[in-house]
Symmetry: none
Subunit: 198 residues, 2 copies
DNA sequence: GACGTCTGTATGCGATAACGTACAACCGTA
DNA sequence: TACGGTTGTACGTTATCGCATACAGACGTC
C-alpha cells in the first residue's frame, strides 16, 4: 500500500544524460530545440533536473537525439537490474525438435555476454522447454544469420532475415526463431544480460 | 544506415497499453493508484489518452505495473528490433595493414554488445588507429576463432587459439590479436560495455 | 573598447498536469 | 425496491509544465 518504493527512474539523472548526448552531438540548446521542437529554456530545465517533462516532450527530446524514448531511459536504468542466472543454459543438442545449439562462451558467473550457435532444421523453431523464449529483464540479444534463412518473431511481430543479416532486439520480450526455408539455418546469438549494479 | 524510421512515440497508445496491463493484473484504477502513488482520476485520464503524464508519474505508473518505464514504452515502439542487413554493415577498412573488420550489430548508443568480424592476413595484427587496443573501463570482450589460428596478447601475456576456440577477457587491458599462421584468420568479437560512469 | 554573435539561464504568463472530491452506473444481497 | 459495495468518470482547484521574451557571460572581429 505504501506505494512500494518502486525503484523508479531517477528523472534527475536523465537530464545529465540528455546533456551529455547533446554535447556529444555538438549541438547547442537552440540547435536541439530546433531539431526536436522543444524550447531551449525547457531543454535547459530538463537537463538541470528542474522539471519533469511530459511524455510528449520527453519523446520529442529523445527524437531530437535520434533515440527512442525507451532507449534514452534505458541508458540510466541499466544499473538497477540485477542478474540472476539460476539455470544457465545447457549445452548440447535437442535434436528431437530440429533445434540444436552449443554455448560458445565460457560458463563463468557474472559473464555479461553469452555466445551461442544454433542450428535449425527446416521448419524447426527455437523456444523449446529448455530454451525459454524470454530472457531476464533488461537483456538484449544480437543474432547473426550465418547460413540459410531465419524468421524472428518478437512480441508478435515477424522479421525475415537472410544469411548475413544481423538483428538486435530486447530479449526480455517473448521471441523465438523459425526456419522457414528448406535447408538448415545457422544462427549465432549473443545474449547480453542487463548490467548489474557495481 | 538502416535502423529505425524515427516515428514520434505515440503517447496515446500508451494509455491502452496501461489499461490492458492493469486489467491483466486484475487491478482496479484505485488498486493501481494505491500501488503507484498516482490518483485514480489521473490514471483514468492517462489510459484514455486525455493527458500526457510527466516522466515522474509515468515512471510511477510503470512501477505500479512492475515494469520499468523504458520497458513500458518499448511495448509500443518499433525500436525493440533493429536489423542490419548484410550489405549495410559498417566496415573498418584497414586492408593495408592486413586487418579488415566489419561491425555487425546496429550502431545504437546504449547498445551493450557490439558484434564485429575481423579478418587477419598472415602476420597481421589488430590494433590499428581505428581499432583502439583498449576499450572503456569495465568492458569485456569475447572472441571466437572462426577460421585459422590466432594469438591473443593481453596485458603482455600470449595465448594461442585455434579455430573454434573461444576466449573471454577484460577489454580494458591493452590487448591485440595476431595471426601467426600462413593463411587468413577470421575472428568474431563481442565487446560488452562496462558499467557506464558519467 | 565597442560591437555582433554565440553560449546557457532567469523571468512572467498561459496552458495543463495532477490532485481531491463528488457523481453516475453496475452488481449482489436483502 | 432499496441498499452497501464496487466500478470508472466529471468537476473545480492548485501546482507546475512549457513557451516567448529578456538577460548575463564568453568569444572573436573590427
Amino acid at each position: 500500500m505504501t506505494t512500494a518504493e518502486q525503484t523508479t527512474t531517477a528523472p534527475e539523472v536523465l537530464g545529465a544524460r540528455v546533456r551529455a548526448l547533446r554535447e556529444a552531438m555538438d549541438l547547442s540548446l537552440r540547435d536541439l530545440a530546433e531539431r526536436c521542437g522543444v524550447s531551449a529554456p525547457m531543454l535547459s530545465q530538463v537537463e538541470r533536473g528542474e522539471t519533469s517533462p511530459t511524455l510528449q516532450v520527453a519523446a520529442r527530446i529523445a527524437g531530437g537525439l535520434d533515440l527512442r524514448l525507451s532507449q534514452l531511459l534505458r541508458l540510466d536504468e541499466d544499473g538497477a537490474v540485477t542478474i540472476v542466472r539460476a539455470d544457465e543454459r545447457r549445452t548440447g543438442p535437442s535434436s528431437v525438435t530440429g533445434h540444436a545449439y552449443e554455448i560458445l562462451s565460457p560458463p563463468l558467473p557474472g559473464q555479461r555476454a553469452e555466445l551461442s550457435r544454433h542450428t535449425l532444421a527446416p521448419g524447426a523453431a527455437t523456444g523449446g522447454p529448455d530454451d525459454p523464449p524470454v530472457h531476464e529483464p533488461g537483456s538484449r540479444e544480437t543474432a547473426l544469420v550465418e547460413a540459410g534463412r531465419v524468421a524472428l518473431v518478437c512480441d508478435g511481430r515477424r522479421f525475415e532475415l537472410d544469411a548475413g543479416d544481423c538483428v538486435t532486439f530486447d530479449a526480455d520480450l517473448p521471441h523465438h526463431f523459425e526456419n522457414p526455408g528448406d535447408r538448415d539455418a545457422v544462427l549465432l546469438a549473443v545474449v547480453s544480460a542487463g548490467l548489474r549494479r557495481s
